[in-house]
Symmetry: none
Subunit: 189 residues, 4 copies
């Protein structure tokens, strides 16, 4: 009786959505997983769509806030990028299911999907800002900051999920070290 119904539903929804995707997941699935009557979900969330949106909102916020709170003003841009990569890798490891949802459901023209991309964009623009800062400080090469932002996000996201959904162990250190090298120093010696 510790958990509120709302958070039971929330947890169950993450599980089910990440397992089956938005369309294949059913409210019956979620209700069963949460040990709650179907009507109860609708008492707390207006629709499947809204439940899903809420869930993604929370997740992206968590990722962004986690990174944002650790970024200190007096850090060097290079250090900031490192921190972002490290955080993102760790977040993906910790919330694999949520990250699957994110990559799965963000592409398309439905309202929900547009909404998701907007959220992701809000996170990317955080990275973008750091890149811009580095360029202005003449520490970074002059690249299009938006491209850099989405590329950094994408490289970390896909590489993380590639491992997490494969059979291998998720060696965060190795991945971090590789991505750091590629992003900051480049592949070429």
């Amino acid at each position: 009786m510790r958990k509120s119904k709302t958070s039971l539903i929330f947890q169950a929804a993450i599980d089910v959505f990440s397992e089956k995707g938005f369309d294949k997941a059913t409210m019956d699935d979620i209700a069963a997983r949460a040990n709650v009557a179907k009507g109860t979900i609708y008492y707390h969330f207006k629709s499947k769509e809204e439940l899903f949106l809420f869930l993604v909102e929370e997740g992206v916020e968590m990722l962004r806030d986690g990174v944002e709170s650790k970024l200190l003003d007096d850090m060097h841009p290079r250090e900031k990028i490192e921190l972002i990569l490290r955080e993102q890798i760790s977040f993906f490891g910790q919330y694999r299911d949520f990250c699957v949802i994110l990559l799965r459901e963000s592409w398309g023209a439905e309202d929900r999907q547009l909404e998701f991309r907007k959220m992701i964009r809000s996170y990317m623009s955080l990275i973008e800002g750091v890149v811009r800062e580095g360029i202005e400080a003449d520490t970074f090469h002059s690249v299009n900051a938006e491209n850099a932002g989405s590329a950094l996000f994408g490289m970390a996201a896909i590489a993380s999920l590639h491992i997490l959904l494969g059979k291998g162990e998720y060696d965060e250190e190795q991945l971090f070290s590789d991505l750091k090298r590629m992003a900051l120093a480049g592949l070429v010696k």
Copy 2:
């Protein structure tokens, strides 16, 4: 009367699946788009699943073959990476809808999705090979080649789609130049 029913259906399926995604697309949609009776689709393809699988197979093959055919043995690994990035950026620009399908439908535990990831993996391993080659030739830093492969694929994929699904113009040259810089020389000056 030129086109075989099969290819009519195939074309219609690409259109509809990329527009709506696997689940939201209906066989009626596809039949209507192909100007064919619904039963006819079932005469040519066993199921919706099979039609979709066939379609994605063709697409990934196209991407891989396009890259593979242009990779020459005597190219420098750096040149090969450049070529791969350029090709992938161009492919995503050309087949945006197919790429959306790919990113949308590859994450999950259904057979179809495992199948997709296997296909993508086959493409990634092509990149992986080049990285390994570069490391062995002592041109590249020593990174985990698998990580590098998925990171390179992911960076190009996400950055491309980020632009293609936003409102901006798809400036392939700029994107290529930025990704090349990040991947090969690194952000830091």
Copy 3:
């Protein structure tokens, strides 16, 4: 703080039922309109059905009592019919929503509907009595009094609602004059 909960609910129920009809009206609607928790309604009324029945009972009683109280023994049957028509026209104008409920929910085989028809019948039989009286006094042509009762009720009801639910103004005088003429003197000169 003046109003008892019961009458708050009663008022809200009239509003909501007439706006949406029995089936489309929800207990949530009514509770919200009454500014009362849903459970409270069930504290005062056993069920939706009972609440509705109670409400219609009151309404029909109001109509019948209104007419009955104005019918004086020494009136001429012709005058009585006139009075009934006038009263009914005025009642329909004043309680349009209730009258809609009445016409909407009285036809069918459910208990509730049988109950309603019984109530309406009790009102009709009031008219019937006057007709019978007129026939016995040899003032009215000899018609089947039951037919006459329902016909008079129906002519006034439908004509009233026809105007009230259309866009036109509700000209009670004109309507009264027309119905009186038709019912008492007939159309033909």
Copy 4:
């Protein structure tokens, strides 16, 4: 195998709708009554709403056409009114269920209900025309023709249903004679 599925559904729908009303009637009911799978209904009719609308359209048309086709130009207005009354009484007797639907579902503000009233109005205006004709020929008293139209329709409708839904026998002759008298000659001797 004689009947087309469409007409099977049509018949079943009339039965069920008149028995239970639009809201209480379920597509399952109708499918079961028609001995057809639920999906089949949706193959032939886009929605419950549309099925219902179609049904009412047909019915009103039948009533109006029936009357219209029997109205001859050289009839006296009085004869025309008689004919209309007779026809309507007979129609209500024959299609009691449909008529219940009509009186049940025409009152309210939903689109469907507005649509219904429009249909009924189209029938009423037929009566209206005859009344106007009579007034112009100086055969009828000068009343508001619209009021007369709705009143005549209403008197016949309610009186018919009053009998048909009660236990008594439906004595068409008696009812016709009574209504004719009231409408044309008036109650008063």
